[in-house]
């Protein structure tokens, strides 16, 4: 039997937070968007992190399958990345004239990412997805953008839906939404909006929330690529979530095509705050002329961390390792579910697996099981794809499967 965690200090801190911070913890790491069901099953604040674990403020240790929602790709506090960052910090970080680390980092990305002829740096994924759309519009002098339903491309107004607080009709007036994997819908959108579509933006595969993740259909990307080329539409790949976990050369490379623009963040620097837009040469001049910057965008420490992170991922051939870990975990979890009569679906790419117990379409059973896992020290979410990192060991996978097994047993007993 595994220890059942309790979170009295998390609750105390949350009460303090709620007094001075809107909703206590806002965004995807908060209890509402994070789908903490029930909220009592989840830790709310961390004390420290190391490798594949984090410890909450109550001293509970978690095997972390969210990896800070992606950035932790080598393990928290990776010594090589942290050493590179520390060395740069001694020299300087946010300085009037940028460090040449910026050039080194751009050169490394151009050398690593198959479709990259240049790199532009910012801080968050949203910064570069927004830049990609602005660049596509500036280059094509067109307004409309095609999205695949179930997308997530950040939080700027153009990415949101018309019914979100603070969004006005004009923010999304030029958005066209089509179903994932539907080439004919894209053809129809082009036909209905001749010469008006600036870009299509998409994640490399559909890793939307609350639903089994869906890989691209056979020849889907090849057809989309051709339609974009034939119709002067910029093809933007939002690789913020999946980037570097499937293929260091980019997820477009993994699926056998080339994006015109590709957005990276999360795994690019193992938690140091930097994002990048990489692109084809024909868009470089357009981006050169754009007014787009931020106070900390050229800080050198994250560049040094990014260089160390990508270098290490290349040395390790990390995507191959993450695939192996993901397949091992998937096999163990499915078997544990089967043992207790549950049909656990594991979808998406193994390095970013999505879980769903398929025996109950309402997800309530799944939410119960996830809560029991979290209370025993495996941090899963019930709504979002997960993330693997290099520090996850075979022992961690075995412990995860053991906890998942116990959680399945608890839920099976409860449901009779």
């Amino acid at each position: 039997m595994h220890k059942i965690y309790e979170y009295p200090k998390s609750r105390e801190y949350f009460a303090r937070a709620a007094a001075v911070i809107p909703s206590g913890i806002y965004g995807h790491q908060g209890p509402a968007e994070g789908c903490y069901i029930p909220v009592e099953a989840f830790p709310l604040f961390s004390e420290r992190a190391e490798g594949t674990y984090f410890w909450d403020v109550d001293g509970n240790r978690f095997i972390d399958y969210m990896c800070a929602y992606g950035p932790n790709v080598l393990g928290y506090n990776d010594p090589d990345v942290d050493a590179a960052a520390a060395a740069q910090r001694k020299k300087g970080d946010c300085v009037t004239a940028p460090s040449t680390k910026m050039i080194e980092f751009a050169e490394l990305l151009v050398d690593t990412v198959a479709s990259a002829d240049w790199a532009f740096f910012a801080k968050n994924g949203n910064d570069v997805t927004t830049l990609s759309i602005m660049a596509a519009r500036a280059y094509t002098r067109r307004k409309k953008i095609v999205f695949f339903k179930g997308y997530y491309h950040g939080v700027s107004p153009w990415t949101q839906k018309i019914d979100y607080p603070g969004i006005i009709e004009e923010d999304v007036a030029n958005n066209i939404y089509i179903p994932w994997n539907d080439v004919s819908a894209f053809e129809q959108a082009i036909a209905e909006n001749p010469g008006q579509i600036a870009a299509v933006i998409s994640q490399p595969y559909m890793h939307g929330n609350f639903k089994d993740n869906e890989l691209p259909a056979e020849s889907f990307w090849k057809k989309i690529r051709k339609l974009c080329t034939d119709n002067g539409i910029v093809l933007v790949i939002d690789d913020v979530r999946a980037g570097f976990r499937l293929d260091l050369a980019g997820s477009d490379h993994y699926y056998g095509f080339e994006a015109d623009l590709i957005c990276f963040c999360k795994a690019i620097a193992n938690g140091y705050n930097v994002s990048a837009l990489c692109g084809k040469d024909f868009l470089k001049s357009t981006v050169s002329g754009m007014t787009y910057t931020g106070s900390y965008w050229l800080s050198a420490v994250p560049f040094a961390a990014g260089i160390a992170c990508i270098t290490k991922m290349r040395e390790l051939d990390l995507p191959r390792l993450l695939l192996e870990k993901g397949l091992k975990l998937k096999e163990g979890l499915i078997a544990a579910g089967k043992k207790h009569g549950f049909d656990l679906h594991v979808s998406g790419e193994p390095a970013l697996f999505y879980l769903r117990i398929a025996d109950d379409d309402t997800l309530m059973l799944h939410q119960e099981w996830i809560a029991e896992c979290v209370k025993r020290g495996v941090f899963f979410t019930n709504h979002h794809n997960h993330f693997l990192n290099y520090a996850l060991s075979d022992g961690d996978i075995a412990e995860t499967v053991s906890i998942a097994d116990e959680a399945f047993a608890v839920v099976a007993n409860r449901r009779g």
């Binding site: 949350f14 709620a18 809107p22 509402a32 069901i37 909220v39 929330n209 997800l363 309530m364 709504h383």
Partner: protein, 251 residues
């Protein structure tokens, strides 16, 4: 932006429709219809039509205005909304002999309803008044969500993301209702649904009141555990987005 047609649907089925529950919860309202056997049809050009029926001490509302004893035609949604707001006086096309009910008892019923839906702050100090007021407001909001999801352009966008199923909304164990989604059309269920695919539970009447009055935010309440959500969360998430628009129409 408010759509007058959507507002007419809300006024018809959420506001006037709540007269039916008023007659269950308020003794004065019950007494007013105790011996009434009458129906009022509201026919709105290019808008909704509905009939409030009073029979053997019970009130009900149904769609359509062809089978009624008093018929009130309205040339536009704006005119109908004006009647609900008290700025337009309706004139019946049928049922002149029953006009006394309309002018006296029905007017009194709507006055009582207004007292509960737009209460004086001090009135809420009375526990019983507070319970009835909050319960009625809950049902108004549930029905308004359905009408906005079906009739308001932005609401329809929200409803387009709601998969088929029933969302259960409740205030503790005091009151429950459901919103049924079928092909992205919403129907309010003004009683506890037998089964449901998602849920949103307010801890108690006090919290529900604060949420309805816009004094606290639902997202913040999830963190404190005062608001529980679960199941097909996108259902209740998109319902919450429609809920945001309810205040726009009922302000």
């Amino acid at each position: 932006m408010i759509d007058n047609r959507a507002k007419a649907f809300i006024n018809m089925f959420a506001v006037l429709g709540t007269v039916t529950r008023l007659c269950e919860l308020d003794k004065e309202a019950q007494a007013l219809i105790a011996d009434s056997n009458i129906s009022i049809g509201f026919a709105v050009k290019n808008g909704p039509s509905g009939t409030l029926r009073f029979n053997n001490g019970k009130a009900s509302i149904e769609r359509g205005a062809s089978d009624c004893t008093i018929r009130l035609p309205f040339g536009s949604c704006e005119r109908f909304n004006g009647m609900v707001d008290g700025t337009v006086t309706p004139f019946p096309s049928k049922g002149f002999t029953k006009i006394g009910f309309l002018m006296k008892r029905f007017t009194k019923l709507t006055d009582i309803l207004t007292k509960y839906l737009r209460p004086e702050p001090e009135a809420l100090d009375d526990e019983d008044f507070f319970r009835i007021s909050t319960t009625l407001m809950f049902h108004v909001i549930i029905e308004a969500i359905a009408q906005i999801g079906n009739e308001d352009a932005v609401g329809r966008q929200s409803a387009s993301y709601i998969d088929d199923g029933i969302a259960k909304l409740s205030i503790g164990s005091d009151v429950s209702a459901g919103l049924k989604a079928e092909n992205h059309r919403l129907t309010a269920i003004h009683e506890e649904p037998d089964s449901f695919t998602s849920y949103m539970t307010f801890a108690d009447m006090k919290l529900a009141r604060q949420l309805f009055d816009g004094k606290v935010n639902a997202v913040a309440c999830v963190g404190t555990g005062l608001l529980r959500i679960g199941g097909l969360v996108p259902q209740v998430d998109n319902i919450s987005r429609i809920l945001d628009r309810v205040a726009l129409y009922l302000a």
